[in-house]
Symmetry: C2
Subunit: 747 residues, 2 copies
Amino acid sequence: MSLFKSDDNWILTEKKFSAQSNPAIEGAFTQGSGYLHIRGSLEEHLIDALQNEDYLRMPANVTSEKFRTSKAKLGTYVPGVFCKHPTLNNQLVNLPYFAGIEITVDGEKLDLEKSVLQKNERSLNLRNGLLKRVITWNTKSGAEVNILFERFVSLTQKHCLFQRVEISGNRDTEIELKAGIDADVRTNGYDHFREIHFENTEENIIQNKLTLDSGVDVTIVSQLLGGDLEWNPIFEKRRARLVSKFQLDNGSKKVIEKRSCICTGIDLEKIDPLNELISFRHVSFGKLFDEHCKVWDERWQKSDIEIDGDAESQIAMRFSIYHLLRSHADGDPRVAIDAKGYAGDAYWGRFFWDTEMYLLPFYSLTAPDKAKTLTDYRIQSLNGAKSNAERYLTEGAKYAWEADPDGIECCPNWHYADHEIHITADVMYGLIYISKVLNDKNYLAKDGFEVILETSKYWIHRIDWSKGLENPQLLGVMGPDEYKPFTNNNFYTNMIVRYILQISFEVLKDRVDDKELMEKLGYAKDYLPLRKIENEIYMQCDDFEIFGDAQFDDYWSDKTRTFASQVSQERLYRTKCLKQADVLMGMFLFPDQFENSEIEIAYDYYLPITTHDSSLSSGIHSIIASRLNRSDDAWNFWKQSASIDLNGGSAEGIHIANAGAAWMVFILGFAGLQSPIVSEILCLKPKIPSKITKLCFPLIWKSQKVFIEITEEQVVVTNKDSAEIEVQVNSERRKIKAGSIEVFKIN
Amino acid sequence: MSLFKSDDNWILTEKKFSAQSNPAIEGAFTQGSGYLHIRGSLEEHLIDALQNEDYLRMPANVTSEKFRTSKAKLGTYVPGVFCKHPTLNNQLVNLPYFAGIEITVDGEKLDLEKSVLQKNERSLNLRNGLLKRVITWNTKSGAEVNILFERFVSLTQKHCLFQRVEISGNRDTEIELKAGIDADVRTNGYDHFREIHFENTEENIIQNKLTLDSGVDVTIVSQLLGGDLEWNPIFEKRRARLVSKFQLDNGSKKVIEKRSCICTGIDLEKIDPLNELISFRHVSFGKLFDEHCKVWDERWQKSDIEIDGDAESQIAMRFSIYHLLRSHADGDPRVAIDAKGYAGDAYWGRFFWDTEMYLLPFYSLTAPDKAKTLTDYRIQSLNGAKSNAERYLTEGAKYAWEADPDGIECCPNWHYADHEIHITADVMYGLIYISKVLNDKNYLAKDGFEVILETSKYWIHRIDWSKGLENPQLLGVMGPDEYKPFTNNNFYTNMIVRYILQISFEVLKDRVDDKELMEKLGYAKDYLPLRKIENEIYMQCDDFEIFGDAQFDDYWSDKTRTFASQVSQERLYRTKCLKQADVLMGMFLFPDQFENSEIEIAYDYYLPITTHDSSLSSGIHSIIASRLNRSDDAWNFWKQSASIDLNGGSAEGIHIANAGAAWMVFILGFAGLQSPIVSEILCLKPKIPSKITKLCFPLIWKSQKVFIEITEEQVVVTNKDSAEIEVQVNSERRKIKAGSIEVFKIN
C-alpha cells in the first residue's frame, strides 16, 4: 500500500505524486469496460515523457527483463486488436491516446512536475471506476486555480470514455485548453500504425481514422462539449487537437466535457463512433454516469468480499476484484484476459495459463457465464493449437504458452514455448472445471470434444514410450517453476496430465476407434510417474536432487529484488531454487490425492528454496499454508500477494493472475471452499486469520446462489436460490431450503 | 565432388554453371591473402541477384536455420572489421564488392543465365589461387566472342586484387565495359555503412571512402589499365563505375586490367590504397602474379599432402589446405579464423572452439608461428573474457562461445552462450598445445599466465561444490553435442576441464597464494566425475540414459537433410541422438587415458545414435575409426568429410573446421601421428586405407622439420633439419641424424 491511501474501503488515492511512481499509478488506475481499457494517465500528460520512442525490444526473460523506464506510459487497449512485432510476434496494440486535456493558464502549462500545486490528488473509486483528480494550482501569474478532472469508461456505452473538467480561479485568468487524439504512440517501441488520418468533422469534433499494419481499421472520435467555447483544430502528423482560449473571470467556473468513442474493424458489435456520440449528445454526464454505476453495483453485488478487521485487506481485495471485473471482455469468446489485464504493454497482451489456473475460479464462482467465455476462447482457438502442433511436427493440438486470439504460439523465447507443455493440460483442466461448475456434461462431450480428441493425440505423441507401455515419461519439460527449464517428469505436469487424461479417456472411450490412442491414454493416465525420494518427499522432477545448492546467502544480497535479477540465468537453471510453487501447485489443485502429511513435508522442503520471483507464487502458498493450519505463513503470503500491485508493481500493467489469486486466497484459502474439481457439493473448511473478524461473500455454486458469512465462531449460509442446496462446513453436512439461512458453529 | 571436376590434382573446375549451385561455387572459390578475402563471384554478376535486400535476421539455431537463398552472394571481408547487428551482436562486415566487371557486346549484356554460351568454364587453381574463367559467347548480333577472366588476391600485396580480362571476337563488335565499386551490399541483410563517398580521382580510378556504423573508415580504390581506353564515371547513390565503349575489330584482342586495393582504419600496417596502386602501376600483371605464386609455392612446400591412389582424395585434401592457407591472417594476433573461413556471412565472422580443436593442429605442425598467432589472439582478448565473466556475475575469465576480436560473447542464442562452457577449457587446451609444439614452457608461465589464473578462478566458481570438496560437479552444461543442451557432468567437458586444470595447477602452485583456489583446483582436476554405466560405457552425461529413443526410422525420413531439420528442437533435446562426437571427442583428444576396448565400446554405443548433423563430426569419427582399425568406417567418414564443401555445402562459406579436420584425418588418422599433448616424440601409428598407395607430407615436430612417406609396407622419414630427431613408428623407436633418411618397415 505504500503508493496509496484509502479513507474508506472503496476509494484508492495516490499518496503523493512523483514521476517515478507515476507509471505504477497509471497501471493501478486503469479503467475499462471489457471492450476498451485506458491506463490512468494524467489528462495533461508530463511535458517531457515522450511516447514515440522507437526501439527494438528483443525477446528476453521477462522475470529479469529491465523495461524502458519513463515517467509516463500511455496505454489504450481494445482486446483482440493484435499486430505482428518483428522480434516478439503478435502483440496487443497500444492504440492512440484520446484522454488528453491540456490546460494552460496565463501562458503557463499545467505540469505536475513543474507547476506549484497546493493540492494534487488522484483517486480511483473501485465501486464505480471513476477516476478523479483534484488540483489547486498557484500559477506564476499569481492566481489560485482549482481544477477537477473526472472520467470513466462506460459500462453502458462500452466504446466510450467520458471526461469532465471543472476550472475556477480566484482572479481573472486567460485559459487555453487543448484536447484531442494522440496517435504518436508505440507498442513496446514499435509503430504498428500504417496510415493515420485526422479530420475536424464538426467544430467541436476530431475524428481519427487509422489503419494498423495488420490491415485492421480503427476509428476514434472525440467531441468537446460545454462552456460555450469556440474550438479550433491543430493538426500535426500523428496528432490532432482542438484548442480553445477564453477568459475565466474571478470566482466563475467553467465545466467542459470530452466524450470519446472508439471502434475497430474486428468489433463484434458494429457501431459508428460519430453517430454513437451524437446519439446521446443531449444526455448529461451525470445521467450517463448513473447508468454506468448501476452496472457496477450489480457486479459488486455478485462478487464483493466484505472483510472486517483489516482495512488494508479490504481495499486490496476490492482492488483485485475491480480489475477482474474490469478486464473481462464480457460476451466475447474470441479473447481471454491477458497477463497484464489490459493495463500495459509488458506481456504483449497475450493469454497464458493464468486464464485457467488463476482467473477461472473467480469467474466460475461469481459469474459462470463470464467464466465460460474464457474456456470458449480455448475451444474457438483450437485451430491455432493444431497449427502449433504442426509447426512442432507433432500430432493433435498444442496450446500456446503465449497465445494470441487465434491461439497461435507467440512466445518468442523458445524455451518456454517448447518446454512449458503443461499449458495444453491446463487448458483441458479449464474445460473440465467449467463443465463441473455449469453441471454440464455436454460441455466436454460436445463443445469440447474436438479439443479433448486433439489434445489427447498430442499427449500420446509427446509422451515418451521408449521404456515400454507401462513406463510413459514426459521428458524435456519446464514446469510452472521456470527456473528448471529442461527436466524429466515434472511433478506438476505429470499430475495434471494424468488428471486430464483420465477425464479425456472417459469422454473418448466409447466414441473413438483408435485402439493405439486409447491404449496409450489408458496407460498414461495411470502410469505417468510422480517420484518420491526417501519415500516421503515428492520430487519436482527426476533429477531435482542433482542440482546444486542455491546459496542464497552468497548470491541473493538484495532481497527486495528478484533472485533472477542478481544471478545469471545459467546459475538459476542449475541450482535448487524455485521461481514459484510447482509440487505445491499440483497439491493445491488436487488436495484429495495427498495425505496432509505429504503436503506438509513438501511445503517444508520447497519453501526455503522458493524465491517467489513470480507474482503467481504467494497466493498459492497462502492457500496451502491455510490448509496446513500455518496461519502466520498464510497471512504473510496474503500480505505479499496484496502488495504486489499496490506497492509499485503495476507500472507495466496489472498482475491479473495475482488478482485472481487474491480472491482465491480468501475463498479457497481462508474460507476454505473446496474446489469443484474435488467436491461435488459446496464445502467450506474455514481457516479465518486472527486479524479478520468477519468475512462475507456471495457465491454461485453450480448455478445456485448463496451468501456466506464467516466469523471465528460460525459460518452462516443463506440460500439465495429457488432450490434447495446441500452445504458442508468442515465435516457437517446440511440441506438448506430455498431462501433459508443455516448457521454452522465451527468453534 | 558433384559440383566440380578436376583434370589434374590442382585445378578445381565448376562442372556446369547453374544459378542454384552458384553460391556454393562462390564460397568454394573464395580467394584471399589473409588480409583480404573475396568470394569467387562472377565478374559480371547475375542481373537479378540483388545484394541490397534489407531484412532482420533473427537469432536462430544455425544447424536448422534456413538461409535466404539467392543466386549469388557477393562477399568481401577484412578480418577484424566488425560492426554491431541489432539482433545478432557484433559481426564481420561484408564490405563493398570491387571485383565487378560488366561486359556488353552490341548492346547485349553478358549474363550467364541469359546469354548463349558455347563454352563457360570457371576454375580455381589451388596451387596459386588463380580464379579463371573462359567463355565463348554467341551474341544476338551474331558474333562469337571469347572472354578470359583471371584474378588473384595477391600474397605479396595483401590489400590488392588483380584482375585481367581478354576479349576477342570473330567479327567487328561494339563493346561496353563497366567496372567499379559496389557499396550497395548488406551483411546478413543489414546495412552497416553509415557514410559512403565516391570520387573519380583520375580518369581511370574510382575511389570509395566509407564509414561503418562502428566509426571505422574503409577506403577502396579501383584502377583500370590497358587497352588504350577512355573511361567515364557513372555515380549512383551506393555504387560508382567507370565505363568505356569501344569497337573491337574482327580478330583483334583487347586486354584490360582492373587493380584494386583496400585499407581500413584498423589495419596494423597503414597503407594508402591510391599510392599503393600507383607504386606498381608499371609492373606487369604477369610479374605481379609470378611473385605471388612464389609465396604459394613456399606455403605448399610446407604443407602439401601428396596422396597416391585416389585422385578425389588428393584434390579434396588440397582444397582443404588451400582454404586453411588462405584464411589465416598471418602476423595479426587480433583475430583468429572464423567458422566460415572468411567466405560467407553465415557465422557472423566469429571465432569458435574450431580454432583450438580443428585448426590448431594443422598450423602447429606445418607453420607453428601461424599457430601461435591463433593462441596469441586468445591471450590478447583476455579482457573480453573477463568482461564476459562479469556479465555472468561470475569470477575470472569466461571465453566466448562466439567471440569477436575483443573476445566478447556475441552468441545471440543464450543456450549456447550460457551452457557451452567447454570453450573456456578449449582455449586453455590450445595454449597448452602450442606450448608443447613450441617446446616453450614460458608460453604458459609468462604469456599465458594471466589466462591460466583467470580461467582457473572461473572454473572454481563455475563448479558446483554443494556435495563436498571431493565431489565437484559441472551442472547445466552443453557439450560439443549441442542436441543435449542442459546436462550434468558432460563427459567431454569434464575430461578437458580435468586436463587443463592439471596443467593450470602445476603452473600456479608455486606462484599463487590463494589457498581456497589451489585446494579446489586440486580437487577438481582429480575428481570431476566421468561416469560409466554397466561398468563399461562412458556416459555422455549423468542423465543420458533417461532420454528417449531417437526413433530415426519414424522421424528421419530424408537422410540427405539433417535430423534437426526434420524434428522439433524440443524432440532433439529429449532423445538419445547426438549432433556430433562428444564422448568420442574426449577420447580423440586423450587416447592415452583409455583402453582401446573402452573406446571401442563407446564407438559402438554412440555411433548408431549420432546424426553427424554437424560438419565437425565426420573427421573425428574417421580418426577414431582408424585408431580402432575400422578401416571401412574411417574411409567412409573421410569421404563424408571431403564432400561437405565440394558437394554444395559452401554456399554460406567454407566449413573451415572441417578443412582442418581433413588434414587431421590424414595426419592424425591415416598416418597415425600421435598428438603432441600425448607424445613427447614424433610418433606414427599408420593406418593407411587400402585405396591409398602412398602418402607423403612434410611436418614440423617441435621446430624440427621432417618429411614423411608412407606406403603399405613402410614409413620413410627424412630428417630435413640440422639436428638429430627421435622418431617412433608403431613400437619401433629410432634416432635420425640431420639430413638422414630412415626406413621403418611396417608390414
